[in-house]
């Protein structure tokens, strides 16, 4: 319908290939710079605190998304966190099947608003919510100031 004539020979239908790709450099920003320098230089994980809302944001933000206060007060995140949610990814980032599923977790920390989404460094059958975990941080000489300086979260030995 719609047009007065239509092609019925499928071989005559064409397509045209292209991309809208470019290379990007994203700056970490004001709050991110503070976080990633502390991570790279000292292996610390910082949250940004809003004293009005009494929330410590992880990832840190330069502003409180609730009250719009500018956040300049940074606090250390506890060394040990807790797995709040888990998923086993059976495919890689492009959707190709993995030989062995990869555990991913959302990790929260006591007294901290938010948390971190990251790889969970345990065998798939050991990945479960409630696990006490801590970040495994790459050695200083290979840290570049990105979230990938953290390799993932591993079980925290008591």
């Amino acid at each position: 319908m719609t047009f007065l004539e239509r092609t019925t020979d499928i071989r005559r239908l064409r397509h045209w290939e292209g991309t809208i790709e470019a290379d990007y450099i994203y700056t970490s920003g004001i709050a991110g710079e503070r976080f990633f320098v502390a991570l790279r230089e000292e292996g610390r994980i910082l949250a940004a605190r809003c004293s009005f809302c009494d929330l410590a944001y992880l990832p840190p933000k330069m502003f409180c998304e609730r009250c719009f206060a500018e956040l300049t007060d940074f606090v250390d995140v506890p060394k040990v966190g807790r797995v709040e949610a888990v998923t086993l990814s059976h495919v890689d980032r492009r959707g190709n099947r993995l030989a062995r599923p990869e555990p991913w977790a959302f990790v929260t920390f006591k007294g901290i608003h938010g948390g971190l989404l990251h790889r969970l460094l345990v065998p798939p059958d050991k990945a479960r919510p409630g696990l006490r975990v801590r970040p495994r941080v790459h050695p200083k000489d290979v840290r570049r100031g990105t979230i990938a300086d953290i390799e993932g979260f591993e079980p925290a030995t008591p």
Binding site: W16, G18, T19, I20, A22, D23, Y24, I25, Y26, T27, S28, G29, I30, A31, G32, E33, K61, M62, F63, E65, R66, C67, F68, E70
Partner: protein
């Protein structure tokens, strides 16, 4: 409109897009004497995702724009967004659905490598245009050439716009490319990019954000807000995608949008009733093109007005008293700071060193974009 804010416009800023939004939005709220809790809804304006390099960038910018747990929507009409988002903000209030609306526009063009212009390779039709490997500047060169040829306009006259706006921008605290000493000679001698466009005919790519606060008359009355200007006309229009099928010498779509806005604002004779304008000026000739599209000059007459000084800040019809995109910078959608913000600041007498020396009561601005096809127009009154 009861508040406005903007960041510095620079080639590269360290802030993330969200952070830029926050800085502008916070400034706009502060200037209106409001807090985020007073805001009922948020409108985001941002141009191609491919500048910042984030798919669904409206979602990404949301917290910085103040959209957390609020009705939030992004509108996008290419380069027309700088003025269009205010129109969307207007219908949020005028519909009665919101009393206070925050409009936040942002662009972070420095993320894109090797050059922000790489993004523009993808704005063309994939089958008809992209195989020719077009550069953004071609658009302007082709349109400028057509305009010049049809009306017999000289490059010297067009360069006068660059000179005026870059000089006006000296008084703008956010300006990226202000130049108090620039001459027509400098423009004409600058490097040829794509003839007839030379380097100093072009506004620079920039990072930046801007914001305005809109409120219903009831809120303004109740809170006794004195620094306010009124949106009295809005218009918007898109022309056909088939840009190789029309005469580029006149922006018909801008004229349509202007007529829509003038009708709403009950303006019968724009040249007499409008006191100043912020026409969209990503390239110098565009100011002339748009003065004509806005029906503030007859076709082909804008260069004459410019030559006679009519569009100078102290002229009879000041154009781009802010310094425009040519002088202040061109973070696409964030140019709301010059286009809409400047109307607000001029009409409320807050423009400082840029204040037009005589009294102004009615101003108009326009945005322009897509593939030479989008016009958005806002008329504001004191």
């Amino acid at each position: 409109m009861i508040g406005a804010g903007m960041t510095l416009f620079r080639r590269r800023l360290q802030e993330t897009g969200k952070e830029l939004c926050y800085e502008a939005a916070r400034m706009a709220l502060d200037s209106a004497g409001l807090t985020l809790a007073d805001v009922d809804a948020v409108v985001s304006g941002s141009a191609p995702d491919a500048f910042d390099g984030v798919h669904m960038k409206g979602e990404y910018l949301l917290d910085g724009a103040g959209g957390y747990r609020k009705p939030y929507v992004r509108v996008f009409t290419g380069g027309g967004t700088g003025v269009f988002s205010t129109i969307a903000g207007w219908w949020h209030v005028a519909s009665g659905l919101a009393d206070v609306v925050l409009v936040v526009n942002e662009e972070k063009m420095s993320s894109c490598q090797p050059h922000a212009q790489s993004v523009f390779a993808h704005i063309w039709d994939p089958i008809l245009d992209r195989p020719l490997q077009p550069n953004l500047v071609w658009i302007f060169a082709m349109e400028m050439n057509r305009y010049m040829t049809v009306h017999g306009v000289k490059k010297e006259d067009i360069a006068l716009v660059a000179v005026k706006n870059k000089r006006n921008a000296v008084d703008h605290p956010c300006a990226q490319l202000a130049d108090p000493k620039i001459t027509v000679e400098d423009v004409l001698k600058s490097e040829v990019m794509a003839w007839p466009v030379q380097r100093l005919d072009i506004s620079p790519p920039s990072d930046g954000a801007s914001a305005v606060v809109l409120a219903s008359d009831e809120v303004i009355r109740k809170r006794r807000i004195k620094d306010r200007a009124w949106i009295s006309g809005v218009g918007w229009c898109i022309d056909s995608t088939m840009w190789t099928d029309r005469d580029l010498y006149f922006p018909q779509y801008v004229a349509r949008a202007a007529k829509m806005a003038y009708k709403m604002a009950k303006i019968g004779d724009p040249r007499r009733e409008i006191d100043f304008a912020e026409p969209y000026d990503p390239f110098d000739y565009k100011e002339l093109h748009h003065l004509e599209g806005l029906l503030l000059a007859k076709k082909g007459e804008a260069p004459k007005l410019t030559r006679e000084g009519v569009t100078q800040r102290d002229g009879d019809l000041p154009a781009c008293p802010s310094g425009g995109l040519m002088g202040v910078g061109n973070p696409i959608a964030a140019t709301m700071g010059q286009k809409i913000g400047e109307l607000f600041w001029q009409l409320t007498g807050q423009a400082g060193k840029r204040q037009i020396p005589h009294e102004v009561r009615t101003g108009v601005s326009n945005g322009w974009g897509d593939l030479m096809q989008y016009g958005s127009v806002v008329v504001m009154r004191a």
